[in-house]
């Protein structure tokens, strides 16, 4: 297991009103919880992954996701079981879509 934390301070939209969750912790898959983190001024990512040694990959995927959505005052928590970057990005976008449509917890994958 490896824990990675990334923090982005250049977000613009604090649109996360209530927690949303996407995905499932299963082989080659992951779950993503996006929660409001009021007044933090940041979008923080906490990744717990079963596959170690891909720090640079996570950093790049998370940075690209952040650039696409620019969340602020937000916490993104990830439980990963060996998902490929393609799956990670797909789930991140699915979770962010849920935030955008401001629906409550749903969706799997």
């Amino acid at each position: 297991m490896q824990r990675l934390v990334f923090k982005h301070l250049d977000g613009k939209y604090s649109s996360v009103q209530k927690p949303v969750i996407a995905g499932v912790v299963a082989s080659g898959n992951l779950e993503i919880l996006i929660e409001p983190s009021p007044h933090s001024g940041a979008c923080t990512f906490e990744v717990n992954t079963s596959v170690t040694g891909f720090d640079a990959t996570w950093k790049a995927v998370v940075a690209d996701f952040h650039q696409a959505w620019l969340f602020t005052d937000t916490k993104v928590s990830i439980n990963d079981m060996g998902a490929t970057p393609a799956v990670v990005r797909l789930r991140l976008d699915q979770a962010a879509e849920l935030v955008a449509t401001s629906k409550s917890s749903k969706l799997g994958g």
Partner: protein, 310 residues
Amino acid sequence: MNSFLEASARQRIEHILDPGSFRELLRPELRMTSPHLAQLYLPVAFDDGVITGEGLLGGSKVLIASQEGRFMGGAVGEVHGAKLVGLSKRAVRQNCTALLLLLDTGGVRLHEANAGLIAVSEVMRAILAVRAAGIPVITLIGGSNGCFGGMGIVAKCTNFIVMSEEARLGMSGPEVIETANGVEEFDSRDRALVWRTTGGKHRYIMNDADGIVPDSTDAFRHAAIGAINAYRSEKMAAELTLEALGDEHALLQARIDKYGGMADSTSIWTAVGIDDASTLPLCDIDRFLERVNTVRISIRNRSLHMLTFN
């Protein structure tokens, strides 16, 4: 039509309950995760693989639990089990209309050993308490893990079991039987044999399941509503009494006497009186019910086979 099999545990709840009515208890952001998995450096899930909460089904208040089969095979650990127990106690306290269990599990989570085993036995006791309080417990099985191990027993402790043909129900899983008794006894890689023996159609014919539906969340929803209605109109028949247990035991004994020597379920289906039994597995559910409903095994005094789930 939404596939129940393909849906996630959360999606299943959304499709089964009245739209928008679900309120989750112990939501993921509370992070009630497994302490055991963390100690073993294994990934945890924010809901520990089971989603619990309350909502409306056909306008009636129900409590519901849905296991996520893809997380650790839906297996029951300490927290997961405690959530099921807590939900059952809440059902009694609130005197809700029904408790729905959407099971998709291989049984106890081996990583949590004794804690998991205790959790499953506590779930059984809690379920029986719900039944004793006059609240029906309805099990829906339609996930890829089926329902095995201790949770297979839990399912049989409930009032109604509804399965899809893709679902399976049993005590020991196929691999366990093969390991213990040899491949001659049960070839776990013969998928057709596995489903013929533990799948929804066979369980329905043998009266191990009370209802069978196509793999659609809509069909499961209607079956659950049908089960609640049946419970209301025939309360006594579905209740847990000494007499009912005696009937059930008599039926099991009769099943062993009649079919115990048969090596394959198709022989049993033929013996039960189903013509052209080998064509049964590919039948769609409507046609299947036409062919088996008049001959399937059923219990005297228990008219659940007359349930219409429509």
